[in-house]
């Protein structure tokens, strides 16, 4: 009797190990499924089956593990988001796909390098160069994802139209050299075009919350990877310069010629890395978020306390609006990252409460700044920079304000985490729309100055 019991335990342990190997099925789910399996086995043995027979029937009823982990991955896409094609149909094919991906990514990166090299050879003015910088990289990145996701012809057509329009608006206007509107175009065009990258990245899942959330994750992790590559590249070029210096050769001209190509091509490589080497960063991003959320909260609370104590809130410079935009953007980034890394069904924890403190303090700090600046703007009039900064501020304020309400509801158990996710992902196009307005309308309104 105890012998069959030991055999059964062994079989269950083996089954558990198989289950644990599935990335989409986490330990808590394995525990839940194991309880089910044991209950089923107990029920069947009571009905007269031998333990090993009961185990076989129970496993069969549980269902095919591949299909099961696909279902789990579909429901918990945050666990497996690297694979938009949720699970490879046959394990053998996965390796081959990975290699051809790398080949194409490398090819696209080289293409970006060539395009940038051509731009350098054309001897564009600084203004032209800056305005078109995003157009030298992002169309190729979008193309890579369009290929990878096998987008429909209609979507590809739309994306092509978007990039052509971007090219027209970046170059057709008679910008005054070094004017504000030229700089604003250079800054806002990449933001507007990032939406096109997102549409290609998420593919047919762009209309779903999960698809957009994946794109948010992708954007954050692309940033982290890019910074890492840039740091490594910086160290390497430093050493390269030194060793060539040692033999009396100055390689600075070489850097000037080729560095922009490498900087652009690295974007594609970073994008490929994000998808291919997901699990490496997956653990890092939530850690960074958890590290910086308390720190930013502390800084904000210190700022607010100082304003309240010294009463210096009214003396905020009008140009400081940019700084507050940056701050809200940072808070939004932390919030989005925490959202995208959070297990939707985890219970409310201290970190969630801390996030609410962060949100509220950021909103209060921004309200103090806005109140001070509104007076000054009415005094000194509008400039393109001020209107652009104000617009972004309003956008961020609406986004974070409503997020705070939803977050508070979630903490009190009145709302769902899904509602918060949906609000954030639905809001994304608003930023691209505003950026497009800045690019298309501002130069005309402010006389290209």
């Amino acid at each position: 009797m105890s012998d069959t019991h030991a055999v059964l335990e062994e079989q269950i342990a083996q089954w558990r190990t198989y289950l644990q190997r599935r990335q989409a099925i986490h330990a808590v789910d394995v525990a839940e499924l194991e309880d089910h399996l044991r209950e089923q086995v107990a029920g069947l043995t009571e009905g007269g089956l031998a333990a090993d027979e009961a185990f076989l029937v129970a496993v069969k009823r549980m269902g095919n593990l591949d299909a099961l982990s696909r279902e789990f991955a579909r429901e918990h896409s945050e666990r497996l988001w690297k694979q938009l094609v949720v699970a490879p149909a046959e394990p053998g094919a996965a390796g081959a796909v990975g290699r051809s991906d790398l080949g194409v990514a490398f090819g696209v990166a080289v293409l970006v390098g060539i395009v940038i090299k051509i731009a350098i050879l054309l001897r564009l003015t600084d203004g032209q160069y800056v305005r078109n910088a995003s157009l030298l990289v992002l169309p190729m990145l979008t193309g890579y994802f369009a290929w990878k996701r096998a987008l429909s012809g209609r979507t590809v057509g739309l994306l092509v139209v978007a990039f052509v329009a971007a090219g027209v608006f970046a170059n057709a206007y008679p910008f005054v050299a070094d004017g504000s509107t030229e700089v604003l175009t250079a800054l806002h065009l990449p933001i507007a075009l990032w939406l096109a990258v997102g549409i290609a990245y998420a593919g047919h899942r762009w209309r779903e919350v999960a698809g957009r959330m994946d794109f948010i994750r992708f954007s954050g992790e692309l940033f982290i990877y890019y910074v890492l590559i840039a740091l490594g590249g910086g160290v390497l070029t430093g050493f390269m310069a030194m060793i060539f210096q040692a033999i009396g050769i100055d390689i600075e001209p070489f850097f000037e010629q080729w560095m922009p190509c490498l900087v652009g091509g690295a974007v594609i490589i970073a994008a490929w890395l994000v998808e291919a080497k997901q699990s490496v960063i997956e653990n890092m991003a939530p850690v960074l978020t958890r590290l910086f959320t308390p720190l930013v909260t502390l800084v904000l609370l210190a700022f607010l306390a100082t304003v309240a104590w010294t009463g210096r809130g009214g003396a905020i410079e009008r140009d400081a609006l940019i700084a507050f935009d940056g701050l809200l953007l940072l808070v939004l980034g932390l919030l989005l990252y925490a959202l995208s890394a959070r297990e939707a069904d985890a219970p409310v924890g201290i970190f969630d409460r801390l996030q609410l403190v962060l949100l509220v303090s950021a909103l209060v700090a921004d309200a103090v700044a806005l109140a001070a600046i509104a007076g000054r703007i009415s005094e000194f009039g509008l400039s393109p920079n001020r209107v652009a900064a104000l617009g972004v501020n309003v956008l961020l304020l609406v986004n974070l304000g409503w997020s705070t309400v939803l977050h508070a509801r979630f903490l009190r158990g009145r709302g769902t985490f899904a509602a918060l996710e949906k609000w954030q992902t639905d809001y994304l196009p608003a930023y691209a729309a505003w950026a497009a307005i800045v690019v298309v309308v501002f130069p005309v309104v402010f006389g290209y100055a």
């Binding site: 808590v28 309880d35 089910h36 549980m62 279902e71 789990f72 429901e75 069904d345």
Partner: protein
Amino acid sequence: MLPCISRPAALGDPVSINKDLIAASSTPIVLAILAEGDSYGYAIIQRVRELSGGRMEWTDGMLYPVLHRLERHGHIKARWEVAETGRRRKYYRLTPAGRKQLAEERRQWQAVDATLRGIWQSIIAGPSLGLTPFTCPAQGA
């Protein structure tokens, strides 16, 4: 009079219900079972078997992603408890939002059901279509 339950004439065969229909009906079924009281995965599956007379065969494991989805939408809430067997077990409870959702699902399924009933009736009126008419034991013979 007993309510007439429409059944295909060949009652002996197990009716295999297609995957789409199983998936679509899983939400109202799970919510309704939880409306009877808190429960856990295995017991829910057993209840489904019982209610359907074994005609609805769910793959056991597939229930869990459904439960997790319902929890994410706030329709049900999970908690871990130690069962009488000594094992930790995850119980689910229907939330007020889930109750609302259940009422909504019920309205929708009633509409679908009513529509289908209407069609079945009119098909019986024209037997030339080659479909087996449904018979009601209470009225038949």
